[in-house]
């Protein structure tokens, strides 16, 4: 390509960088000092290594429980629960429209009974659990609190995260249920509830990852995500019941790390600095802990390819290194066979080992922010931040995120970028090894993917039927009626009512439907 050499997001790059490119010293104070460009903690990863958290979950609660116990036995330090699409979209396993999706891309949870099996023999007071759940996040949180109670673990001891970021679902991932306004209300309810009652649990993980996988570049990913973060914080602050310092420490973020090594590092450093300023300046935070940008990431996703699939192992390793040099707090490394299938135990183990080699053999975790002060990294951090601010300002001028989503503007921006990348790959302007260069005739490997068998599905349906038969119909009716009444009012926190519904063994679908009656459903703008 003619013209300047550019990063993946299109930032023009100099041949080399020098002292003149460094920012003012106060923009890069030591690690652990506001605005945290160089990391949240003075001792980097010495005090606490990043959490190694492998996304998994499939089929029945029994099978997933077995995989979780295996991963914990192999040294994983947190769980990351993948739910099937019916659970994510608010349908029970026996709904006629979803039969082929039950237990397919994650585990099926219909009632508290499934959650009890999923976490059987897993000590919820010492393991932290992350749920990739959005539309039904509040319901899953209710399940988790209720399971903890059954295990005798008080809710103040529960640790983990629900993704609970609905805005990006409207744009990129698609597990929306209700329209934006009531959804924001429910999210604010969960944030308040966690701040007051489940203090070690992150009520939200504002996710850029899915914008990225849908086609956004690294700069857009960060900008859109910070805008979403602002939208959620605005919602809670506007209620006037809580100050920013009461809940901001429980807000976390989630991104994809893709292939442009230094741009990814700069993205995390720039995001950390920008968020710190936003929390202090926009919301008047007094506590520095509120200003910290807590980040989890995935190395993999759309940066992985099917042809010559073993190359993905190398891609993920580099991406993992960039994530650590960028200072993330937790990481999931994708398995090489993810472009085709749910990972096997072997490929999932190799992905886990990739992080362990990085953590324990390479030495990169020994010193905080080893790249701090690098001419190039600091200059790129500044430039990424500048571009992020530009995009955010533009979205604010357009009336904010809800507006940009309802009009389809954001969806259009992402589709444009995805198309640009597709053309660059087709034309060869962007090299993908084994895809458009260094190709071989190698057939994509036939991997043994997971298929939930008829027996598994039957067992899931059987249990659901059994729960429906044995629970107290009166309790169910009363709990759902109370939920519906509360949903019609704006000033009642719905979380305690959802916990009551969970304990009465109401199904996910029943709770969702009660709220649909009050709130309606989201209508997607079909932009391409």
């Amino acid at each position: 390509m003619d013209g300047p050499v550019r990063s993946e997001a299109g930032i023009p790059l100099a041949t080399s960088y020098g002292a003149a490119d460094l920012p003012a010293a106060d923009a890069i104070p030591p690690p652990g000092v506001f605005p945290f460009t160089r990391g949240n903690f003075p001792d980097g990863y010495r005090g606490r290594l990043w959490t190694i958290r492998q996304y998994s979950g499939f089929g029945s609660p029994e099978e997933s429980n077995e995989r979780y116990r295996y991963l914990l036995g192999q040294g994983a330090t947190g769980l990351s629960v993948a739910l099937d699409l019916p659970t994510q979209c608010g349908y029970d396993s026996d709904h006629p429209d979803v039969e082929e999706e039950v237990g397919r891309v994650g585990v099926a949870l219909d009632t508290l009974a499934d959650a009890e099996i999923l976490f059987d023999s897993i000590p919820l007071d010492s393991v932290s659990t992350s749920f990739t759940i959005n539309g039904t996040a509040a319901i899953l949180l209710a399940f988790y609190v209720a399971v903890g109670e059954k295990q005798g673990v008080d809710r103040v001891k529960l640790r983990g995260t629900i993704q609970n970021d609905i805005l990006k679902e409207y744009v990129a991932r698609g597990t929306w249920i209700w329209p934006p306004r009531p959804s924001l209300r429910l999210i604010a309810d969960t944030i308040e509830f966690c701040a007051a009652e489940v203090p070690r649990f992150n009520a939200i993980s504002v996710a850029g990852a899915h914008f990225r996988d849908a086609g956004a570049n690294a700069v857009q990913e960060m900008a859109f995500t910070l805008m979403d973060g602002i939208t959620y914080c605005d919602e809670v602050v506007a209620r006037g019941r809580m100050t920013i310092d009461e809940f901001a420490p429980q807000v976390s973020f989630f991104f994809y790390t893709h292939g442009d090594f230094f741009e990814e590092i700069a993205k995390y450093r720039a995001g950390r600095r920008r968020w710190a300023h936003i929390v202090r300046e926009r919301y008047g935070a007094k506590d520095d802990r509120s200003c910290m940008f807590r980040v989890g990431c995935v190395s993999g996703g759309a940066s992985l390819y099917a042809p010559q699939a073993h190359n993905n192992i190398v891609r993920v390793a580099y991406e993992a290194l960039a994530s650590v040099l960028g200072g993330v707090q937790s990481m999931f490394t994708a398995a090489w066979d993810e472009p085709f299938a749910i990972p096997t135990e072997d490929s999932a183990t190799l992905a886990l080992r990739t992080q362990q080699v990085l953590a324990y053999e390479t030495g990169v975790a020994k010193v905080a922010d080893p790249l701090g002060g690098s001419y190039y990294v600091e200059a790129l951090t500044d430039e990424v931040e500048r571009r992020v601010v530009e995009i955010m300002d533009d979205l604010e001028r357009r009336g904010g995120m809800v507006q940009a989503i309802e009009s389809g503007h954001l969806q259009g921006l992402i589709a444009d970028e995805a198309f640009r990348v597709q053309q660059a790959v087709s034309s060869g302007d962007r090299t993908i090894v084994g895809v458009n260069r260094f190709r071989t005739d190698e057939k994509p490997p036939e991997v043994e993917g997971y298929e939930m068998d008829e027996k598994g599905r039957a067992r899931q349906l059987g249990r659901l039927a059994e729960v429906k038969r044995t629970r107290s119909a009166t309790e169910v009716r009363e709990a759902l009626a109370a939920l519906g009444t509360a949903a019609a009012k704006d000033d009642v926190n719905l979380m305690p009512l959802l916990v009551d519904c969970a304990k009465a063994y109401c199904t996910v679908g029943e709770m969702v439907d009660v709220l649909k009656e009050q709130w309606g459903e989201f209508q997607q703008p079909a932009v391409f």
Binding site: L85, C89, D97, A341, F419, E451, A526, F528
Partner: protein, 134 residues
């Protein structure tokens, strides 16, 4: 006359990057594209295919539920009296499922990584060999 294509994602999977890229590439290649978006029921896809008088229905499925959703869409089209509509399928599809998809009613299958030019060319050929819609 431009070939009319309906692009839709049946089932609950929301990964629409590929579907949108395909929709755009087809439009740029001169097809008339109706893009339905995600989470479409097979019956709704069939109804709109009839209403819009399309020649081709393109399904994009990344969740692994492709065989069942393709079969249901083909059945819904038949039930709507539109069994001459060509159904094609793209997405995360293992080699071993290509035959199963063809049995379920797919005229062509485009697994992840299929170059867009190849897909466009294939749809041109399929549409020119099919009987014209009234």
């Amino acid at each position: 006359m431009a070939v009319r294509v309906l692009v839709a994602k049946p089932g609950l999977d929301g990964h629409d990057r590929g579907a949108k890229l395909v929709a755009r590439a087809l439009r740029d290649a001169g097809f008339e594209v109706i893009y339905l978006g995600i989470r479409q029921r097979p019956e709704a896809i069939a109804a709109i295919a009839v209403q819009e008088d399309v020649q081709i229905v393109g399904l994009s499925i990344l969740s692994g539920a492709h065989v069942s959703l393709t079969r249901k869409t083909a059945e819904a089209l038949r039930a709507a009296g539109a069994d001459d509509v060509i159904v094609v399928v793209g997405g995360t599809i293992p080699n071993r499922d290509v035959g199963r998809l063809e049995e379920a009613g797919a005229a062509a299958v485009y697994p992840t990584g299929t170059p867009l030019e190849e897909l466009v060319q294939s749809l041109r050929e399929l549409s020119s060999s099919a009987p014209a819609r009234s």
